[in-house]
């Protein structure tokens, strides 16, 4: 475990490169929105995967989690995992993702 986690981690060039990748991924997201994709599930999956990659890139490199102590990851991921768990559970309970049909409130 590194004692000094707040030193410089990467060169500006590297950050710019990550920035360019993020820009390209965003462009791909917007493209996925405009290009007609036959399967709704496929389109949603593409969008979710692209945004997940962006998420990981920002957290890992811009927020330095990849270079920093694992303890930072631990306290962040503890919250993140529970959030993902809760969001997924509510998506299931409210049938948010699978179809385009309006959600049928399970409770009603």
């Amino acid at each position: 475990m590194s004692a000094h986690a707040d030193g410089a981690h990467a060169s500006p060039k590297f950050y710019v490169m990550i920035g360019i990748i993020l820009a390209i991924l965003t462009a791909m997201e917007i493209a996925a929105f405009y290009i007609p994709i036959a399967s709704h599930t496929l389109e949603v999956s593409i969008l979710l995967v692209l945004s997940a990659i962006k998420f990981v890139l920002v957290v890992g490199y811009f927020m330095h989690l990849k270079f920093d102590s694992n303890i930072f990851s631990l306290v962040f991921v503890a919250g993140l995992v529970l959030a993902v768990f809760m969001v997924s559970a509510l998506f299931v309970l409210y049938q948010v993702l699978p179809g385009t049909t309006p959600p049928q409130f399970v409770g009603l």
Binding site: A8, I30, E43, S51, I71, F72, G79
Partner: protein, 200 residues
């Protein structure tokens, strides 16, 4: 392991992991914020399609416009890491340029949001009260916007500190923590952009 002399040495910056308290506390807070935005996003998604009267999302969303503001916010994150790099290397000029860029880009994002909100209200008569979509949309994006606003104020504060020459490399952690906040606000938007705007 620290020997007895080192242990006895009095230092209020001692930590058992060697990690800075503020940074650790802030990461914990960010973990907590995940639940905050997670809940708001869940509410929006669960209520999707539940509105009884219009206007509905597909009618009001202006994807090209939001794409631009999304792009601006994303690039402000890049400016943020470069600002931190500047402070860490003791380059006042770089720090000011990039912090300034963050502030301007954050302000642009907020400007877009202000335009979006007023446009929705005047053009489509979509207010907080109109329907469930209006309620969930404004509260979710509004709370995100409030976070961006706080971030911009924070960045302006740091900008002034750098300008005053009170931000030497030893204090770079202050910028780093502000950066963590800024990036977090950015990743929340990454999720919002896809789930709320792009997924039909």
């Amino acid at each position: 392991m620290a020997d007895a002399a080192a242990v006895a040495h009095d230092d209020h910056h001692y930590t058992s992991t060697g990690l800075n308290n503020w940074k650790l506390g802030f990461w914990t807070f960010i973990g907590s914020e995940c639940l905050f935005f997670g809940t708001l996003i869940s509410t929006y998604m669960a209520y999707k399609g539940a509105s009884i009267v219009g206007p509905y999302p597909e009618k009001v969303f202006d994807i090209p416009l939001t794409s631009i503001s999304t792009f601006v916010l994303l690039m402000s994150s890049l400016a943020m890491v470069l600002a931190l790099d500047g402070v860490q290397k003791g380059s006042k000029k770089k720090a000011l340029i990039w912090l300034g860029t963050v502030i301007v880009m954050g302000a642009i994002f907020l400007g877009f949001q202000y335009y979006e909100f007023t446009h929705f209200i005047h053009e489509y008569h979509l207010t907080l009260q109109t329907n469930v979509f209006g309620s969930t949309f404004y509260v979710l994006t509004g709370f995100h916007g409030a976070h961006v606003t706080i971030g911009v104020i924070w960045m302006i504060t740091l900008f002034i500190r750098v300008l005053q020459g009170k931000m030497p490399p030893e204090k770079a952690l202050q910028v780093e923590i502000a950066g963590l906040y800024w990036h977090f606000v950015d990743i929340v938007w990454i999720v919002i952009f896809v789930l709320i705007y792009l997924i039909p």
